[in-house]
């Protein structure tokens, strides 16, 4: 499983306009996500990677790079736990 590739694929699927996400892009500012789409994204990531994103992340994570890093951290944690 390639976390970065999969995350970018999910980002593209959820966006209502064509996007080419780069690590430094902010979801709201650069990629045009609204708050509903951000939560849809989190839901899809949780399902795809079998993770649970902490509530606090929603206030702190802004960029594509931060999302990939957080998914990686959470997914590795899940693997080690199981």
């Amino acid at each position: 499983m390639n976390i970065e590739q999969d995350t970018v694929a999910i980002l593209k699927r959820i966006s209502r306009r064509p996007i080419d996400p780069k690590p430094e892009n902010e979801l709201l500012k650069d990629l045009g996500f609204d708050s509903l789409e951000v939560l849809e994204l989190i839901g899809e990531l949780e399902e795809h990677f079998s993770i649970t994103v902490p509530l606090n992340d929603l206030t702190h994570i802004r960029t594509v790079g931060q999302i990939v890093a957080e998914v990686r951290r959470l997914a590795v944690g899940e693997e080690q736990a199981s």
Partner: protein
Amino acid sequence: MTVAGMLAAAAASDRGGVRAVEHDGRETFRSYRAVLQEALAIAGALQASGLRAGDRVALVVPEVADFIRAFFGISAAGLVPVPLCPPAQAGDLPTFTRQSRHILAAGRANAVVTSADVAPLIDAGGLEPEPPILTIDRLQGARSLTAPMDAAADSPALLQFTSGSTAAPKGVVLTHANLQANLEAMTGPCGLAVTSADSAVSWLPLYHDMGLIGMLLSAVCTRDDITVLSPVLFLKRPTAWLEAISTHRATVSFAPTFAYELCVRRVKPSQIEALDLSSWRVAGCGAEPIRPETLDAFADRFAPAGFRASSFLPSYGLAEHSLAVTFAHGGLRLDAVDADALVRTGRAAPGANGSTRVVRLAACGRPFPDHEVRIVGGDGLPLRERHVGAIVARGPSVMRGYFDDPAATSEVLRDGWLHTGDLGYLAGGELFVCGRTKDLIVRQGRKHHPPDLEAALADVPGIRASGVAVVGIGRVGEDDEVAAVIEARASAAPDDLVDRARRRVRETSGLDLDRVIVAPPGTIPRTTSGKVKRAEIRERIKAGTLLER
């Protein structure tokens, strides 16, 4: 009866309870008896911290179960809860910090109850009074109260802020009598006629009236079970809402139109197969314009899961009326009217004729017993049926006023009538809602005040701080169109400005501007006192007489 008194009555009846489903799916069930015990412990701790009856306590708690025990704890201590949107749902951190600080100031909060995670994000420094930040896990160890404090029926039970408005945050003061009147109306024989066979499911935010009063307090009032899902869980996985209804054989659940739309778009066929929605007898719909196409699509999609279109219950309400003003029974019943006549002459003429543009509006029902609704013209006198005018309401559910704001209060409470700010007409005694008299913008059930959006735009580079106007242009039966007019500095490139303006608004309020009009200085019409003349801007945009680039 007080709000906490209602909980005590439910506890004494030994019936019912709350199942809380958190954002990560964790579930806990507590009987109303157990909720009361927790609330009384929190109430004891709040009193021990020096708070006095009538003090206002802000409540910023993202977890469902914690919110519920804290809310009833505040109430049981004779204090007034002031619910706030938690950071995860506010958009981003700066928005949360700004909104919460404004509400703490405008509500003159005497304390803040919050979670350990959220506490560091709250900025209450320098406020007068500066409220202590109390984390909920520390509100224990004091002696529990033995019963909820009593309070006069006409004393404040809840201070509900209608939005995170920065320009003019308005707190709706509801008394215990207000809440009781509205709860009895909603659950009683002319409302949902709730019995002990009913149970509810809600994903609606508890910091908003529909989730708090319409769902949670209604269930406590009728002593029925309720399952409350975190709104974050619903937005991540809309199917969680329908699964909860299916699993718990729930009979009552309300949501704004956009929630039904989200389910149509995002619940997968394989997930629908696993659902049984045949128990769902009241699928309430409110808080934003009711879009018949959306509800039709939902009914079609979920019919195989046992959903019945006759379960739809369109409703009309507003925070200043505690919550509900009218409920429509008998499913979605539509009035097809001539759209052009509606706009031009203010007449809701049946538009069955194939040659006219027809708009379909949902019947929202009749007022409850002891409550009145009228449609009035500019002179304040009642209009005849099928004439569009201002919707006004009177009765025991009408708020006491806006907190600490007599000017705003006297604007909407006139001669005992609440001026709702909405436009509508009556036909066959039933209410139809078709627009707004106020400048408020409603999108996806969220209310936005143009002055807030203007404030966000004012410091975008290239935009003159005094040269911004935002208006909502009402569209019958759907969300408002939102347009911004920007008076540009000569040096700024229009395309960049449009881009920056869109981004800023999206960033601060999560709202997408439909139209950005860049205009030369002096375009925005103002009153002599400098207030933006929004009605004139709206008209000129509609007429195409504002330069659009």
